[in-house]
Amino acid sequence: MLVAVVGGGPAGMAAAVAAKNAGADNVLLIERAERLGGVLPQCIHSGFGLNYYGRDLTGPEFAEYLRQDVMQSGIEVWLNAMVIEAHHDKTLVVSKPDGISFVRADVIIFAVGARERPRGAIAIPGTRPAGIFTAGTAQYMINVQGLNIGNDVFMLGSGDIGLITARRLTLEGAHVHGVAELMPFPGGLARNIQQCLKDYDIPLFLSHTVTEVLGKDRVEAVKVAQMENGYVVPGTEKLFPVDTLILSVGLLPEAELIKQLGLTILPYTGSAAVDQYFQTELPGVFVVGNGAGIWDLVDNVATSASVAGEASVKQFYEPSQEATLEPCGDIRVVLPQRIAIGVNNPPRIWFRVKRPLGVCSVALTCDGKTIARKGYASLRPAEMAEISLKLEQYNVIEPGDNLQLTVTPL
């Protein structure tokens, strides 16, 4: 039995190791970059691994721990190898420096990660000079390539990668003039707002956006304005004389290969619907990590991908034996979106909310009937929250049920 894992980031490595440990004969890990780790090697800050390894690690350390696990498990690793096609019969076409390979797998686990939304996705008007980077690209150039990419910087979006890059740029000697966030609340984790912006006196402009990029050859300035209902509030435009604009305006699953398989793509995740084992509607095809939906912490990614890796070597259920689950109201995203029935292992449901909420109650319902309920002191869009179903709650769910996840402020 061959388990092919596409992507050697934290999700792919964790899934590959779990598959091997669960008894897969052969596990092949295919990574497009020159090293394993995905984005971890560029995340040189700490805060990783507290749940998964029980210690505080930097990104490169976490990657190295996982890489050691991979190496010790007897997993075959292909580097500089990019899957260029995925077929319904679980054949992968891989381009690598020694040729084109056709991999006929029994199981495919897509751990393809995410890409950053570029300027064009949000259509910022103005000129098209050099000096506009997405936050992750900037982070790679600063931390891996060791380059100075800007001296005076403005940032749009307050996602975690952006916040960490703002701090990093400051430590590298750049002047970060400010961070604008279109929403009335920050996009990143509370700890990052404190540790990356407040601690360095970087101003955060909520309900603001960049309305124009100026500069012929290199960015010369950006116009920033307060926004209300999608419109500029007159008189609030400010000009920031910067040479660099960093964008941290969201991640999208890199789901192009998954789309080639003809799987249904959910509009709210941008990827295929998965069950609690991260299996798609095509048996033997799994999607884990940011490729399935955007996670908050790498620990959660590794943990959930391990579930998939282990499950991938076992046959669990008939595909028809499942219920569906969808997010409602202030719930933005839910994972899984399908629930396999008849497995003696009740699922864990992950979700994110659309806006910050105080004390609230989250309910899993079916036709108005509540199956499970959990209270929270607060929920934030940046954080992924979870409900673990109890066996008796899980056993109530019938094949064909359409479940809903809702949140009610208390």
Binding site: P118, A121, P125, T127, Y140
Partner: protein, 497 residues
């Protein structure tokens, strides 16, 4: 060399002191018109030099336009524009094959939504008939049958089967590449500053040296009137008309089969919805008359593009947009192309006011320019002229067998760098080595598509920079997006390696 100012006497001084570069024909402007003229003139036993102020070929308008081969029913019959549109369209059939330029004859539909637009497409129908272009008038049902996604409010349309889409930048690269292959020369980053006629030729002072030539072809696009004024020719002026566009993800590239236009208005052919030869969807352009060049996109302009495209083909375009840009059309003070000998300086030939359908007409303009050149210098065809040009291989278009062979020859062809457009390191190396070569990130993007995809270089741009550094032996600080001062990186913090 003095960078600016300059009187006649200064120029004489320089001519004495500097050894000028000599040529028979100097072409100013490496846009589609200059490139087509370059290719055609390199057929002959002439010393041809192509100059451009920019860091790469492709001019300004030639790399930011609708990428359409127009059917030729739009210009008024009897105009030079009508004739050259017609000639150019016919020549693109042959040229696209000789030069391996991506052209697809998709056909176009001009939609009419009301009485006055029906009158307008009726006029276009008659135009087309009078210049012998195949056009058909379609009613509502036929229109919707041919293109089911158009706004069902449509009343009628004009169908022109012989029109299509082209990769305009690739066309420029292929034309210039073919000219270079046949002995032509090129100088980029070369801005023309002064032109003067002397007994032994025309002297052209540029930002990178003095040039002495027998013939000058002015294909300076938006700046053609400035070149004319340098030759004392003041009857013609140009102003920029900005067109803003949005490019959408390849996932929705097949929304339409044809190029979809709206019935034209007095200031242009209206907003179109079209697939590009790369498979993206393109919507735009606006038509904004400006006093001076300004390639900014604006919130209002992009909103107009969206609104107008939705009126043609209802679709949530904003969810799939990956890039926006603006191009500037050169709008002359007369409503026709100027392709003629200068009125004031013998030896200068102007190709000015080349707005839409300039891209379509370019081969026709080039042939016309050759005719005009023949009145000044004899044209004798080279025995060994090679009409063919092939771009370096694009791996995603090749069968696996050929990819394997390429990879065996150079492992870099197996190493994929750009995920979105599936571009290998070997293709990027080729882009840097080919003639004319890519010299910056945009040059690579336009030649081989890396960074042109849905992530716009988020993954591959830093890796391309490493490849450029290695292949061109450039320090990081000298790598630019499009030449000039568009440096991407300010410094290398790694210290000594």
């Amino acid at each position: 060399m003095a960078a600016s100012g300059g009187t006649r006497s200064e120029l004489d001084q320089i001519a004495k002191n500097d050894n000028p570069i000599n040529c028979d024909v100097l072409i100013i402007g490496a846009g589609i018109v200059g490139a087509a003229a370059f290719r055609e003139l390199c057929r002959y036993k002439l010393n041809v030099l192509l100059v451009d102020a920019n860091h790469d070929v492709g001019g300004d308008a030639s790399k930011a336009n609708s990428a359409i081969l127009h059917g030729g029913f739009d210009p008024n019959p009897g105009t030079l524009m009508s004739k050259l549109n017609h000639d150019g369209l016919a020549l693109w059939f042959a040229w696209s094959q000789e030069l391996s330029v991506d052209v697809e004859w998709t056909g176009s539909l001009v939609l009419a939504f009301n009485e006055s637009e029906i009158n307008e497409i009726t006029r276009l129908y008659e135009n087309g008939k009078s210049v012998k272009i195949p056009v058909k008038f379609l009613g509502r049902d036929e229109t919707l049958k041919r293109e089911p996604v158009v706004n069902p409010e449509v009343k009628a349309s004009l169908y022109a089967p012989v029109s299509g889409i082209i990769d305009p930048f690739q066309a420029v690269v292929a034309l210039v590449g073919n000219g270079l292959k046949n002995g032509g020369r090129i100088r980029l980053d070369t801005r023309v500053e002064e032109i003067s006629k002397r007994s032994d030729g025309i002297y052209v002072r540029t930002s990178s040296g003095l040039i002495r030539t027998k013939v000058v072809i002015n294909a300076a696009g938006l700046y053609a009137d400035q070149i004319m004024r340098m030759a004392g020719e003041n009857w013609f002026s140009i102003h920029p008309r900005r067109g803003q566009y949005m490019i959408l993800d390849k996932n929705v590239g097949n929304l339409v089969r044809h190029v979809i236009f709206r019935a034209p208005t007095s200031i242009g052919k209206g907003i179109l919805v079209s697939r590009t030869t790369h498979g993206n969807l393109l919507i735009g352009p606006t038509a904004e008359d400006l006093d001076k060049p300004d390639k900014r996109t604006t919130a209002e302009g992009l909103a107009t593009v969206l609104e107008s495209a939705k009126a043609l083909v209802p679709f949530p375009y904003e969810r799939f947009t990956i890039a926006q840009y603006a191009g500037l059309r050169a709008i002359g003070s007369i409503d026709d192309f100027v392709v003629a000998h200068s009125r004031t300086m013998e030896g200068l030939i102007n190709a000015a006011g080349i707005k839409s359908p300039g891209l379509t007409a370019a081969p026709g303009i080039a042939k016309e320019l050759c005719n005009l050149v023949s009145a000044l210098v004899p044209l004798e065809e080279k025995a060994n002229f090679d009409p063919y040009f092939e771009l370096p291989p694009i791996l995603r278009e090749l069968p696996y067998k050929y990819r394997e062979e390429l990879i065996k020859g150079n492992a870099a062809f197996g190493h994929m760098v750009c995920r979105c457009e599936l571009v290998s390191e070997g293709e990027i190396e080729n882009a840097l080595k080919m003639e004319p070569p890519a010299r910056d990130l945009d040059g690579i993007k336009r030649r081989v598509r890396a960074t042109a995809g849905r992530c716009q270089g988020g993954f591959c741009m830093p890796r391309i920079i490493d490849i450029m550094r290695k292949e061109l032996n450039l320090p990081y600080e000298n790598i630019t997006k499009f030449g000039n001062k568009s440096n991407v990186i300010y410094g290398d913090n790694r210290g000594n390696e």
